[in-house]
């Protein structure tokens, strides 16, 4: 027992350490971005009026360390971020970037969480029924609609939803955001369309996965044993099989959440959802490069960390999987 625990601990430490080079690589890509732009880095990093005055320009170059070799610049930049959480100031709003982004992070997390919940609510019943009633009309419908769902881009789905539910029927609002802590009812109402259009697409992927892992599980011997013991079919399916089949589904849900941290850019833009995705979009449109860097680095960090957590919990909850 003790040996197994240390194995788990070792594996956890190993994976956490593995995160460091990945994150460093990530930060290098984000850092390199500004230097891959045309012109001097200083033009990308400070407002145009400050960069046009030769005296302030030189002073700013010195302050940002742009006169030093590139690896020193990188180290300084990274040091400021890691030690002080300092991403600099936005070019367009001139506010502190870290404050701005962390203010908007909850909206993105809220949207991503709800979208994943919506997708699970659709995918688990649909995938299970499709597997249990394999090769029937239900199965074919579920499979076909999930293929269709994967093929529809979420931004088009979002636009269609706005056209139908907001403009034609007038049932749901198409933009604005309310925090769930201020006004829960309004907040949910405004959440329906964004989370719905993200969730339906995710559900398409998850349905197929649930179906195939359910099919795998139904074929296993313990299912035959349970049946031969005379347990009712309902109980065999929903109590034993489904539980095991859901492990990959829940893992995928976790990974989808991680991906949504970056993937909400388009949907947030359409619904004017004040999350990090919209911030990123506005920064790209306004050529606010320090803001772009910060938004991408934070979203990507979230992605990597959530991935790690999903992976670790998957292995911890699943003793059958060898720790390799």
């Amino acid at each position: 027992m003790k040996g197994k625990d240390t194995d788990v601990l070792k594996y956890t430490i190993y994976r956490v350490l593995q995160l460091i080079p990945v994150w460093l690589l990530l930060s290098m890509v984000v850092f390199a971005m500004v230097h891959a732009l045309p012109g001097d880095a200083i033009d990308a990093l400070v407002p145009a009026d400050a960069a046009s005055n030769p005296a302030t320009r030189a002073a700013l170059e010195k302050e940002l360390g742009l006169d030093k070799p590139i690896y020193v610049q990188y180290a300084k930049w990274l040091g400021r971020i890691v030690l002080h959480g300092d991403f600099g100031r936005s070019i367009t709003t001139r506010r502190t970037i870290s404050v701005e982004i962390f203010q908007r992070l909850p909206a993105t997390i809220y949207l991503a969480t709800t979208a994943v919940c919506v997708s699970l609510l659709i995918a688990i019943p649909l995938g299970t029924i499709a597997a249990v009633k394999r090769r029937t009309a239900v199965d074919y419908t579920a499979t076909a609609s999930s293929l269709l769902g994967v093929s529809i881009p979420e931004f088009w789905l979002a636009i269609l939803c706005i056209l139908f539910f907001a403009l034609y029927l007038g049932w749901l609002p198409a933009s604005e955001y309310y925090s769930p802590f201020d006004n829960f009812r309004l907040s949910l109402l405004h959440m329906v369309l964004p989370a719905g259009s993200l969730g339906v697409r995710l559900a398409a992927i998850t349905t197929r996965l649930t179906r195939s892992s359910m099919l795998d599980e139904i074929r296993k011997e313990y299912v035959d044993t349970a049946r031969s013991l005379g347990l009712p079919e309902r109980r065999v399916i929903y109590k034993y099989t489904l539980r095991n089949a859901l492990i990959p589904t829940v893992t995928i849900a976790g990974l989808q959440f991680a991906r949504l941290l970056g993937g909400t850019v388009v949907v947030e833009t359409i619904f004017s959802w004040p999350g990090v995705g919209l911030t990123l979009y506005e920064a790209i449109m306004g050529r606010d490069y320090p803001m772009i860097q910060a938004a991408i680095l934070i979203l990507a960090t979230g992605f990597v960390v959530v991935n790690l957590l999903v992976d670790l919990s998957y292995r911890l909850l699943n003793p059958r999987i060898r720790l390799a």
Partner: protein, 318 residues
């Protein structure tokens, strides 16, 4: 649907062929055989046939764009702004009076060209990398795969956004802008391709025929690329087909965000974004470009799924 009753001739036993020098004719005959069998299998799978037909339609539209587009897709005509679908303008016109049908058709050509070339770039980089990594194994493999891991740990959409932002900043001409997009889309596919090929090469290199070739003294390059790689093509073909759809989606999303081609270019994503201004009055503007994207992606997905059933029966159920 009438079922054809004559199955194709079975593959000739290849045992004898293996000892004879493969001539061009024999190779061609074998390829033809495989192709015919695959086409037969495809025909039996209705969804896959549907996908193949959709992909074919898409390619035809892209190829014949100059002939079936009835107007210049970028020509503005202020006398015919914002019209609904009619006999003169099948899909109506946008706020500059441009014909939507023509724009959708030319957009198809652009999408097809970009995604085909992008997948090619991805394969050109990924396949050699994966083959070498899987064939030699050891330290090289370990290092390459760590790099691939790190790469795959980066969320794709953020990479695309970075790349597109940089491309955008250079204010390139349409041609070079497109080249940049193709490279960015292709490079992003590389690690997944490399990982896929490496996996199959790893399984394949333990087989007896590889050992035999080593004993006979064939060169490493020959064994890896001419003997092992052709046996690893099935998953690669499936992946490439599905990737075509994925690339189209990514391209549409980037153009939707205004990070694709510079404005007058006919592009599905960009047109969809333009349509948002007139959603209340002219919803059809938002219907057709989106329909085109979904049609294309669905075609590739159905076709790719069908190919998987045919080429890799082990995976058919999943």
């Amino acid at each position: 649907m009438a079922k054809a009753t004559v199955p194709p001739t079975p593959l000739t036993p290849l045992g004898l062929d293996d000892f004879t020098e493969p001539t061009l004719v024999r190779r061609w005959a074998r390829f033809w055989h495989l192709l015919r069998n695959a086409a037969w299998e495809l025909w039996r799978n209705r969804l896959a046939t549907m996908g193949a037909v959709m992909v074919l339609i898409l390619f035809l539209v892209a190829l014949l764009a100059p002939f079936i587009a009835r107007y210049d897709p970028v020509k503005q005509n202020y006398r015919e702004m914002l019209q609904g679908p009619s006999a003169a303008h099948y899909f109506g016109t946008d706020k500059f009076g441009r014909d939507i049908w023509s724009r959708v058709v030319w957009g198809a050509q652009r999408s097809v060209i970009i995604s085909l070339l992008a997948v090619m770039v991805g394969m050109l980089c990924g396949v050699p990398l994966g083959t070498i990594s899987g064939f030699y194994g050891g330290k090289l493999d370990a290092v390459l795969m760590r790099v691939v891991d790190a790469w795959l740990a980066f969320p794709g959409i953020l990479f695309y956004l970075i790349a597109a932002t940089i491309i955008q900043a250079y204010k390139l001409s349409l041609f070079w802008n497109t080249v940049g997009l193709i490279i960015a889309l292709g490079v992003a596919q590389t690690p997944a391709m490399a990982r896929l090929v490496r996996g199959s090469v790893l399984a394949e290199r333990e087989k007896e025929y590889v050992e035999a070739s080593h004993v006979v003294g064939e060169g490493h390059f020959y064994i890896a690329f001419r003997q092992i790689l052709p046996n690893c093509l099935s998953p690669l073909i499936i992946q490439a087909t599905i990737s075509l759809g994925v690339e189209m989606l990514v391209l549409a999303a980037l153009s939707f965000l205004g990070l694709g081609a510079p404005p007058p270019t006919p592009d599905w994503g960009a047109d969809l974004n333009l349509a948002r201004e007139h959603m209340e009055t002219l919803p059809y503007l938002a219907i057709f470009p989106g329909l085109a994207i979904s049609f294309a992606v669905l075609g590739f997905n159905l076709f790719g799924d069908g190919l998987r059933d045919i080429l890799d029966p082990r995976l058919a159920e999943s």
